[in-house]
Structure formats: C-alpha cells, structure tokens
Amino acid sequence: MLKNRIIPCLDVKNGRVVKGINFVDLKDAGDPVEQAKIYSDGGADEICFLDITASNENRKIIYDVIKKTSKKCFVPLTVGGGIRSTEDINKLLNCGADKVSINTAAVENSKVVIDSSKKFGSQCIVVAIDAKKDGDKWEVFTHGGRNNSGIDALKYAKEMEENGAGELLITSMDRDGTQIGYDIDLMSKISSQVNIPVIASGGVGNLDHLVDGIKLGKASAVLAATIFHYGKYSVQEAKEYLDAKGIPVRI
C-alpha cells in the first residue's frame, strides 16, 4: 500500500537555515546540510528546501547546499524558490536535486512547466501554488505572496496538471505561519479535481493538523516547517501519531 508522505521543509537564506531546529547539540544550527541529515535519519520521506535568498548573487549558494546534501541524504530532495527557467532546473538537478518546485515562473509563463516536464520528466516537476481565499474562491499569488495574479487556484491547478506537473504543492497563504491547521477546504477541492498527488502546506501547528490534511484534505503528502524546526515534534513522533490514527505511513 502506498504510504502518505511527511515532508519537512527547510527555509534557506544565503545558504543558511532561517527557521532551524533548536538542538543544543548541533555543531552548526544554521547548516542546512546537517539539518537535512537529521531529518532523513529521523525517517523523513522526502526533504524540501525553500530558497528564500533575495539577491541573485547569493542564489548560487543553494547549488552547493544541494550538492553536499545529496551526498549524505538518500531520500528524495525537492528544491524550490527563485526557479525561472529550464536552465535553472537543469542546474539544480545536476547538483543532486530530485524534484524542483516552480511557483512564480509557472504563473508568468506556462511554457516553463510544459517544456521542463517534457525535458526532465513530470516526476521531477512540482508546481507550487500559493493561494489566498477571496469570498468563495481562491486566488493564486506570486513573488512569495506579494502579488495577486487574480487567477482562480482551482482552474490553475487543473491547467498545471495538463501542462505536465507531476505533483502540486498547495500552500494556503491565509494559514501559513498561523499554526491553526491547513485550509482543508482548499486542499480537498484541489485534490478531488486533479489526478496527480497534492502536497498540503501552510498552517500546521500540531499533529492532528497533519491527520486532517490527509483524511479531510485528501492530500497524498503533508509538508510542515515550524513544528519540526523548533523541535516541537520529531518526524518519527509525527509518523507514530499518524500510524495510530490509521493513516498509512512508512515506519
């Protein structure tokens, strides 16, 4: 039976983890490579890096981070943040990333998704959708949530599936950082509408939220940053909890 995945996400800025695990015995708490290794040793099904580096100059640092991590972690690595072109994707894959998540570039130019899924295969193309509720619909935001594209998130999700995305990473901007749980309505609507896996993101504050994301939100995988970063829960604890709630996980 296929298992639901738990994906810890590391926010990386200028090559350093911004939201880090508060482990006192960590030699270097800001080292993304070391933190990724802790996650993979702890049973993470996949590891996600979100590069939030602002300057173009420093963006090259992420390549080195991925290179080092992929030599130590033998679970799938997904990298997102600032990916503009098939050339950017090529570089990240060559460094050892297994998947890339494309956000703003996919909205601005759908050809990026079409071309890259043809060139590298759908299996490595994740389209990240940042959605914000407006009345009874959701709109797609770009540029790290700063710009409203006005595009309907449900229609857009379907379009990205047709363009060749292998997975969708859905973040509710209303919930992100709130720790009150995923936007279940958004997740389940998108997941029922597309036939590719959906990864739920944004708003996790406790382990029941992960359960809800899968059971009610119909997500194939759940992504979380804060609850793991600050050591509130370990990946192993999360898996045991889900297992006890009858959700199939890899233990």
Binding site: M1, L2, K3, N4, R5, S40, D45, S70, K71, F74, V75, P76, L93, N94, C95, G96, A97, D98, K119, F120, G121, S122, Q123, C124, G166, E167, N195, I196, P197, S220, A221, R250
Partner: protein, 208 residues
C-alpha cells in the same frame, strides 16, 4: 572492480551516481560514461532512466553503437546489469508511452500505463510503497519482505514470463517492481532514493 553507470542523457542521474559512490567508497571504481570501450571492459553496468520510455530509447539510440554494446554486455557475455526505473522498462520488447516504441527486447513483455481504475488512483504512483518479494533474488540479500522503497512512475512493465518477477507492489493493481533474469536485474523503484534499504540493494548488486 569497475562499474559503469551509463550516461546517455536520460535525465537526472546525479542521485544514482551519489548513491553508488557512497556504497562503493574506494573499493569499487564507479565510472559515469557512454564510452563504448569503457562499458565493454566494465564488470557491471547500471542503466538508469528517467522521463518517458520513448525519450530514453531515443537517447540510447542517439549514441552510435551503444545499444549493440549493451546487448553484447548483457546478452552475449552475460555480465551483470541493473536497470533502474525506465532503465528496467527498456528491457521490454515494446513500450506505449507517448507512442509505440521498440525496447531492448531482453525480457519479453510490454510497458503500459498503470490502470488508475477510473481515476480512483492518482498517477504518477509517487512515494513509499512496500515490496512483496515473490522470488529469491541476489539483490534482496538482507532485505526483508514488505520493506519500503521509493517509487515514481506512471507506467509498468508487464513481462510475458512471470517467473522473471522478483517482487511486486500493491497499488491500483499488483505492479511488477523488480525483475531478475539470469544476469539481468531491474528495479522499478529507485534504490538510490530508498534510504538505507535502497543502499543495501546497491551494495548487493556491487557484491554479486
């Protein structure tokens, strides 16, 4: 010992390279090349593959003499070869992804889209699933039945002779997830991404 990972522009193979180098350390020499002479003189060959069946077959055929060299290696000289994902699928006679495409024909059978049972199951089949070992295989030494492996694919290999199947996995149907025919081994899952157990399979292949 020399092991060659065939680099034929089949997509992203850096994870395959990293995992084999991790397991090999200094004991085994890992080459990443499409150089025909190097492949010929290798002790073992790894045939990765990402993207579509057609794109991988096309990429193989683009390199002059590569298919013949692989045929000679695996069929004439019967040296150990491991196909991963589309690398395994290409063992088939024929694949139907994008368009009907001829495979290597090493293990009779075809590659079809996984039946999603009227959209009841999502495709690609992505994530960790358990393998049901149906025949003793040298690459499963120290691997327990029902171990989790990492999968990502929408197509499956259906061999004619079911005796070549060494493990299956349960999704929308019983999917073939590894084969073994004499010196030819293949995994539909990605041992290079399947954590410690995946590395154990790579180790088993290197120890053959």
């Amino acid at each position: 010992m020399d092991v060659t990972i065939v680099d034929y522009n089949s997509g992203n193979i850096s994870s395959v390279i990293n995992s084999f180098k991790e397991v090999a350390q200094d004991k085994v020499n890992i080459e990443v090349t499409s150089d025909l002479n190097k492949i010929k003189s290798s002790d073992k060959v790894v045939l990765p593959g990402q993207g579509s069946f057609k794109s991988c077959v096309d990429a193989l055929n683009k390199i002059d003499g590569l298919t013949d060299t692989l045929n000679e290696f695996a069929i004439t000289y019967k040296k150990p070869l491991l196909g991963i994902c589309v690398g395994l699928q290409m063992f088939a006679d024929i694949g139907y992804e994008e368009t009907e495409t001829k495979g290597l024909g090493w293990i009779s059978g075809k590659v079809l889209k996984i039946d999603n049972q009227n959209r009841k199951f999502k495709l690609p089949h992505i994530g960790w699933n358990q393998i049901n070992i149906v025949k003793e295989s040298k690459i499963f030494k120290n691997i327990e039945n029902n171990s989790h492996m990492y999968f990502v694919h929408s197509y499956e290999f259906i061999p004619k002779d079911k005796n070549v199947i060494s493990s299956t996995t349960d999704y929308s149907s019983n999917i073939v997830c590894s084969v073994e025919k004499e010196n030819i081994f293949g995994t539909q899952f990605h041992p290079e991404k399947s954590d410690k157990l995946g590395l154990q399979i790579i180790k088993n292949f290197l120890n053959l």
